[in-house]
């Protein structure tokens, strides 16, 4: 509020009659300039941080990586929303028409989300004065001014790049400042994120223009009223609240495969990808697609850190302790390009073997152990290698003297073998083990018998007491889904069979079911597909949350790694460290201790002790970062063998040349770009992003609430409601489906439906009511499945209440009434709010249609359509009905609302015009305000100046964002009395509560 206004120093106004800049066109053209402007503007801000940021941001842009990573951007939307609805109250009447969708994906998938956001930020201003048509009682509104302001509330920033930058900044500062700095940093992030949020609104503008006009006038009047009345109260409260929220840096501890600890400071909201890249960089690892970061959840279950999602949301209350490990075991390690990759795989397998996860016979233990010795110690030296020389190694879960003797005996026979050869031999033998690369999960079959589900490169294996009792190869599987704690696979009918069959398994709990499902989706995509699935097209209706594997497939990573052109990186195998360790007298952690150590020590990082926490590998003790010395590498291994024989038969045929974009990037960039290389939107998980469009119009009349206090109450009530609905939703959404399609078919064809993720989030998020509604409707419409859901509830009494939509209804309805009763004045507003989502959906659907390539891909857009049909404005009036409707509630984390004033000129067709100036000024205070002035020359010699303001309001839920927003808008208007506000885009990102089950 105050901040934003004050920050603006220069506003260029060339408000002549310049045709309205076409919004659509503008964004693209302006993108670059804007960025530049932003960066330039930053220095202006008082804080020291900014300079740093700039440089970093610049780097990021320049970086191939940055360019390559379009994907990360999409996620930004994923915040939760707390009080979206409330904002409308405070908006000036003229702004009340909303049109925004939270996240559309730009038509061009390749376009990094970030850029998009930037584009979106720009606002066009309208030269034309706006007649006061509907003057309500208060005519105080400024008529002729043209101001464009975008006010956004962003709580979470999701873009990776942004995060990175922020992080760096933080790191620098952090030492000196603790928390205070964080605030600033956070703001920065938010700014960036904001940009992303804006994107959608731009497009929408067209639609809304006509409507906007009328509303604008009203809004203005009201706005002033509100402002006057409420501002005082609000301001104070808001400001204080804002201060409370600060950005935090968190130190992540990553246990590397050699047992060493890697500590890395990460912005609290950083995505998994950021941390993962940090680790890979540390390791000097290029073929990173086989690896991942895992953590232990509250239930001590190992979970994979999703690179596309915020770390914090995934680990919840767990400690920031991670393990770097192999996620996809290459069926033929000899096809890996680099020795360092094979080395890391060896380390993983040694852990797996020593911990018993990879069972093998005595002979195999001995053989593999001997290769380990050869790789790490070199040739057996009778002088040096006495009896005890292998005592530091753990070759088997239960290591006997006999085994050690056998290992030594075999070690002697490997004389002359280089470490790389020894590793290769190790892998050649290890890969033949039947449990190689099999990820086991406890489950029960339909009869309640304990079994194990094993997910591997070839499919799904079913074990009962170590015996393989069934196996479903990927080609046999048509669909993978889970519902609550049940996991289902639909099997392709065999030759003699007529119908598809579905096999169900019972997992210990919902999260376990989801975990298996995700692992299956990932493995199927990685090993079976040529490229990750394209975002679902509009034609497919998908459930709210779609988890997909966004990384590269094996085929792609092989392709990419074939282009690796660097000298073989030097890395140090652990032997030396092992020795040094013993000298140190540091406690040696045995494998047996490992589990305990992990749990106990997980959170902490005593440098020396960290080894313990590590894990399973015998080598835990060694603390060393293998790749540090990478620079030194002398050897150049350019030659690379492309996939030959080892590749699974199926894949080979399917493999297609890497996408054009990929190659170039890879070549130039190499490893880091990889995730995004494909040019495919990497927005795997759309779940978090919900597009909510609220129409304020209805709310308007009542929006101006005389008494602030009353308003607040109303909101709370609404929130409560929402929360409930969310929880219920989450339950109902437990299911997810993944349709596995044969590789031969186009990747894009596959559908992955999953609601599970949303569930988690839903559970967490209390604050994002609006989004909730959308997801479910979609589901039903799209799939027959809903019926199934309803049926199931009966089976599971516990969840029934929550799960079934009908059940939900009662809850909501009461709430609605209660609200009404309590706050009569606000009634309408509340109602409007509730209804809004529905309306929104309708609009959202349109948007989708228009822009096929949406970042969100699979997610909600399709859903929206469904909703449109189902829920119309008519319903808006009746809250109860809506709830009744079984509309699934999906909690939305991110919300973008655009309030747009009517624009006289057709935006779309006008010529872009020439950009004369672009300036961005950022000021930081309680609210962060970024002001961008864009002056364009349009045809006819007219020039148009648009001012974009990004206002980031950060605060806890207790802050009344709406008030803060209103205040900000008011101030903006005051600052530029001669300009008119043409559009307000509100982007809300709500932080999810972390206390989930």
């Amino acid at each position: 509020m105050t901040t934003e206004v004050g920050s603006e120093t220069d506003v260029k106004k060339e408000p002549e009659k310049v045709p309205e800049v076409q919004q659509q066109t503008e964004p693209q053209q302006t993108e670059q300039p804007d960025k530049a402007a932003d960066s330039a503007a930053q220095p202006a801000s008082a804080s020291d941080d900014q300079p740093q940021e700039e440089s970093q941001s610049a780097e990021a842009k320049s970086d191939p990586e940055a360019a390559a990573s379009p994907e990360p951007s999409s996620p930004p939307a994923a915040g939760g929303q707390k009080k979206d609805k409330g904002i409308s109250r405070f908006l000036p009447p003229w702004l009340k028409r909303q049109k925004s969708l939270s996240q559309d994906k730009p038509a061009e998938s390749t376009e990094p989300p970030r850029q998009e956001s930037v584009e979106a930020v720009k606002e066009e201003h309208e030269e034309t004065s706006q007649p006061k048509e509907e003057a309500d009682g208060e005519g105080g509104a400024t008529t002729s001014t043209e101001q464009t302001e975008e006010v956004k509330e962003v709580k979470e920033v999701k873009e990776v790049k942004e995060v990175k930058e922020v992080k760096e900044v933080k790191e620098v500062r952090e030492e000196s400042r603790a928390e205070e700095v964080q605030v600033e940093e956070k703001d920065k992030e938010e700014e960036k994120s904001i940009g992303s949020a804006d994107t959608q609104p731009v497009r929408e503008e067209k639609e809304g223009e006509s409507e906007v006009k009328e509303s604008e006038e009203q809004t203005e009047k009201k706005e002033e009223k509100k402002e006057e009345e409420q501002v005082n109260q609000q301001e104070t409260s808001v400001l204080s609240a804002l201060k409370l929220k600060k950005m935090k840096m968190v130190v992540c501890h990553v246990t590397l495969l050699d047992g060493s600890q890697f500590s890395c400071e990460v912005e609290k909201r950083a995505k998994g990808q950021y941390l993962f890249f940090q680790v890979c960089e540390q390791l000097n690892l290029l073929e990173k697609d086989y690896f991942g970061l895992s953590f232990k959840d509250n239930a001590e279950q190992r979970c994979w850190l999703d690179p596309t999602k915020e770390i914090k949301r995934q680990i919840r209350n767990s400690q920031w302790q991670f393990a770097f490990s192999v996620k996809f075991y290459p069926p033929d390690p000899s096809q890996l390009t680099e020795d360092i990759t094979r080395y890391l795989l060896c380390l993983q397998l040694r852990q797996d073997i020593a911990s018993g996860r990879l069972p093998c016979s005595f002979v195999t233990h001995a053989l593999l152990g001997s290769y380990t010795l050869q790789a790490e110690l070199g040739d057996h030296d009778p002088e040096e290698h006495r009896l005890d020389y292998i005592s530091d190694f753990q070759f088997a879960p239960n290591q006997t003297k006999e085994l050690e003797e056998k290992v030594v005996e075999l070690h002697k026979s490997h004389r002359g073998m280089t470490p790389a050869q020894a590793d290769a031999q190790f892998l050649e033998n290890a890969k033949k083990l039947s449990m190689y690369g099999v990820d086991l999960h406890h489950a029960k079959d339909s009869e309640g018998v304990d079994i194990m589900l094993g997910v591997c490169a070839n499919g799904l294996l079913i074990y009962k007491d170590r015996l393989r009792i069934n196996r479903f190869a990927w080609p046999k599987i048509l669909k993978i889904s889970y519902k609550r704690s049940n996991f289902y696979i639909k099997i392709r009918p065999g030759e003699a069979e007529q119908f598809e069959s579905t096999v169900g398994f019972k997992l210990p709990n919902h999260r376990a079911a989801k975990r298996v499902w995700k692992v299956c989706v990932e493995h199927h995509t990685f090993f079976r597909l040529v490229s990750p699935e394209q975002p679902t097209k509009t034609k497919f209706l998908t459930l709210g949350s779609k988890f997909r594997y966004s990384g590269r497939t094996q085929a792609q990573t092989r392709q990419a790694s074939s282009l690796i052109d660097r000298p073989a990186p030097y890395f140090q195998r652990t032997s030396s460290k092992r020795i040094s360790r013993s000298l140190d007298g540091a406690p040696v952690v045995n494998v047996s201790d490992y589990s305990q150590a992990l749990t106990a020590g997980a959170g902490e990082n005593g440098p020396s002790l960290e080894l313990n926490s590590d894990s399973k590998s015998p080598q835990v003790e060694v603390v060393e970062k293998p790749n540090e010395d990478a620079d030194t590498s002398l050897t150049s291994e350019t030659a690379f063998e492309t996939d030959k024989g080892g590749a699974p038969e199926r894949k080979v045929p399917q493999q297609t040349p890497p996408r054009p974009g990929t190659d170039s990037r890879d070549a130039s960039k190499s490893a880091e770009v990889k995730p995004e290389v494909n040019g495919q939107p990497e927005v795997v998980e759309v779940v978090e992003e919900t597009v909510v469009i609220e129409e304020v119009v209805k709310a308007k009349p009542k929006s101006p609430t005389p008494e602030a206090a009353v308003t607040v109450e109303t909101e709370h009530a609404a929130e409560v409601k929402e929360e409930r609905s969310l929880s219920s939703d989450s339950e109902s959404e437990d299911e997810a489906e993944y349709h596995a399609q044969p590789p031969s078919t186009s990747v894009s064809a596959q559908l992955i439906k999953e609601e599970p993720e949303e569930e988690q989030e839903a559970d967490l998020t209390q604050q994002a009511p609006p989004s909730v509604i959308e997801s479910q409707p979609i589901t039903e419409a799209a799939e027959p499945a809903p019926a199934a859901e309803e049926e199931k509830p009966a089976a599971q009494p516990e969840e029934e209440a929550c799960a079934d939509e009908p059940l939900l209804t009662p809850d909501e309805a009461p709430n609605g009434h209660a609200l009404q009763d309590e706050a009569p004045p606000t009634l309408k507003a509340t109602a409007a709010e509730e209804e809004e989502p529905h309306i929104v959906n309708g609009s959202a659907s349109r948007v989708e249609t228009e822009h096929l390539p949406q970042v969100i891909c699979c997610s909600e857009p399709p859903v929206v359509k469904t909703e449109m049909v189902t829920i119309s404005d008519t319903f808006a009036a009746q809250k109860t009905e809506i709830s009744t409707k079984e509309v699934p509630i999906v909690h939305t984390e991110t919300k973008t609302i655009t309030y747009e004033a009517a624009q006289l000129d057709g935006n779309g067709d006008g010529e872009p015009g020439v950009l004369m100036t672009a300036q961005t000024i950022t000021s930081e205070s309680l609210c962060t305000t970024t002001t961008t002035h864009i002056t364009k020359t349009l045809k006819g010699g007219l020039s148009e100046t648009r001012i974009e303001k990004r206002i980031v309001i950060t605060g806890d839920s207790d802050i009344d964002h709406d008030q803060a927003l209103a205040q900000a808008i008011k101030e903006a208007k005051e600052q530029h009395p001669d300009m008119s506000v043409t559009r307000v885009v509100v982007h809300k990102e709500t932080e999810l509560a972390e206390d989930d089950d």
């Binding site: 069972p359 093998c360 016979s361 005595f362 002979v363 195999t364 053989l367 593999l368 075999l410 026979s413 033998n429 033949k432 083990l433 039947s434 070839n458 009962k464 007491d465 170590r466 015996l467 393989r468 009792i469 069934n470 196996r471 065999g494």
Partner: protein
Amino acid sequence: MANIYPYGCFTHAVVRSIPESFGKLAEGGEGFQTDLAKAQRQMGVLTGALRQKVGLQLIEIPADSELPESWRIEDIAVIQGDTALVTRPFKQQRRAEAEAVRRVLNELKLTVVEMGDEEGGSGGATLEGSDVLFTGKEFFVGISKHTNHRGAEVLADTFKDFAVSTVPVCGGSRLKNICSMGGPDTIIISSSDGAKKTLRVMEQLTDHHYEILSVPEDVAANCIYIRGPAKVDYLLHPTAEECPNSVPAFQRLTDYTLLPSACSEASKLGAALSSLCLLINKKPNY
């Protein structure tokens, strides 16, 4: 592992002579008259082929008339690499057969793993070698009246390097009555409906690809494949008299040396060629 070699490389064969009591307690006798002398002759032909044609070292355990079924030595142990699992046959009377076998295995310096004799020891696990098909890449264990899940688990625990899959035995009393290995990647299997059913399960469970040699007669489905030292493929199979319709199928195996070996007497008791010997590879693995 290194001990995963193409199926068929063997250096030793262990057999046990036909006792005087042959046929006495045989299961599945069904009133067939067994000819002791003929049985012994057939055994002699088999051992001769193994020793002189294939070139294996043959170890012959003397007969014990107290143990009428001891000639079915395949049931008593499952051997892979240098590990031998001494099984626990379904019939109580047969468990004494293990002692002599165990002694031989120890002499051969195999790592001998016991399933345990006592009822409680392995939880009632029963396993007979003729229900175990080892393909060189994995184990299939037929769940039959002789072999139960617990037995299969013990086997899985013993040979941890390999996938152990359980399959129902359809159309025969033992898994190897309906199928056997006919080459490193070849499974010979009866074309009976039951066998097909079992085959489908096996195909479902395996990660590997096998060639299938389908033979019209059940008896022909049990052969002994050995890859000789000179890279010669030997297949010992029932004679044309026993399985006239299946011989053409065997002849489709190119470059094989076919060694017809009669086992009609053993067949009357539900046994087959492979029942008569244990095959061991003592060649150093690495």
